[in-house]
Point group: C2
Amino acid sequence: MMDKQDIPIKTDRRRSPETKERILDAAEKLFAERGFHGASLRDITGACGVQVALSYYHFGSKEDVLQAVVDRRAIEHIGCYQKSLTDALARNDGKPIPVDSLIEAFVVPAIERFTNGDDGWRYYIQLLAHLSYESSRSSYAKPFFKYDDIVNEFISELKRSLPDVSAEDLHWSFYFLQSALTNAVLETQMIDRQSQNLCCSSDFDALIKAMKNLFSAGLLGLKPRM
Amino acid sequence: MMDKQDIPIKTDRRRSPETKERILDAAEKLFAERGFHGASLRDITGACGVQVALSYYHFGSKEDVLQAVVDRRAIEHIGCYQKSLTDALARNDGKPIPVDSLIEAFVVPAIERFTNGDDGWRYYIQLLAHLSYESSRSSYAKPFFKYDDIVNEFISELKRSLPDVSAEDLHWSFYFLQSALTNAVLETQMIDRQSQNLCCSSDFDALIKAMKNLFSAGLLGLKPRM
DNA sequence: GTCTATAATGGGATAGAC
DNA sequence: GTCTATCCCATTATAGAC
């Protein structure tokens, strides 16, 4: 299980104030790669050259480490979603946002950090995907709920953009969009296998384009409610 | 962790030939609910009133138990997909299958077993969903690959139904459909929260309808390749 | 085939010296 | 804040009696 990771081993021992951050970096990576149960605190602290006991000193329990990993980035990330939505609204003078722009506004805050951010953001986004699958079955997946509010703001905008479509259809459709996005960032290489490398899990430009193509057409083609 | 499950405790000890099946039933359930790492062999054997050692006798390692769980149903399940596709073709005299029928033909073999099958099938379908997220990162998720061939048959049919759309768009779109389906059977209750119970994770009739609505419109609205 | 017993290791968590 | 040492239990896995 142990596996020396990218995080450089600590050399200067004794009171380095960034120890907490080192643990969070390693936890972020290993939780993302192996899931909560799949990564032990020994793996995590071993990967960043820190004593196991320090994770307890700094955070408490293993679940607390996960909580801290999410807390570290969640507010900033949710802020990015907020800004993305506000910008899209501004570009349209507060009028309903075109469906394809709204899709892009929702997808980009995750994908951008995934492709352009540092590795930490990559792992964080993957971890969120993991947690979304665990929610309602595992107590440790609760941190993920922080995103509920901002997601609902996007759905409200979608309702404004497509006022004639039933709320049920819009909720389901946005749910499918989220599923597609979540699955995509896990890069399972399912699509690479299925398409014999015509499509590539790691080609996020193609992903965004394909998402806009399908979901725009789908949302715009939904029948008005009777 | 231990948790007495639905599987009745074995009473008549000594050479009961169904011990293997009992272990598989319990493993199916617990792997589906907690993931591979989240369920231990103690949990599994404890849940069905069998000695831990017997799981090693019958299967070998923990990964072998998982493999056996999948093997037990995979061939039958893949056969259901095959039949579903063949039937759809027959209904259309071998001509290209209408997109909404093709979507239904793909979704139903999983959903039907999920809603109408016994609990075992429910857990099995959920387990498949779990494995699809782990593939390419965990060696134990390999069993899932068995489904690649039949999925590709559906995609080939989709190409026949929509000959003017680029293969890229079709592969991505079908990938999104699979993501939506996979996520849905996990019943994370995300959509319940987001819609304030207007939509319900466990309402699979509504799910199928919404899938057909969105993905039919989306696929039919895809632009022809240039 | 099933059981008990046990090996061997891993893992979460804590105490206490420095 | 950091380290060593350790507790204690869970876990995978095996040996051997019945």
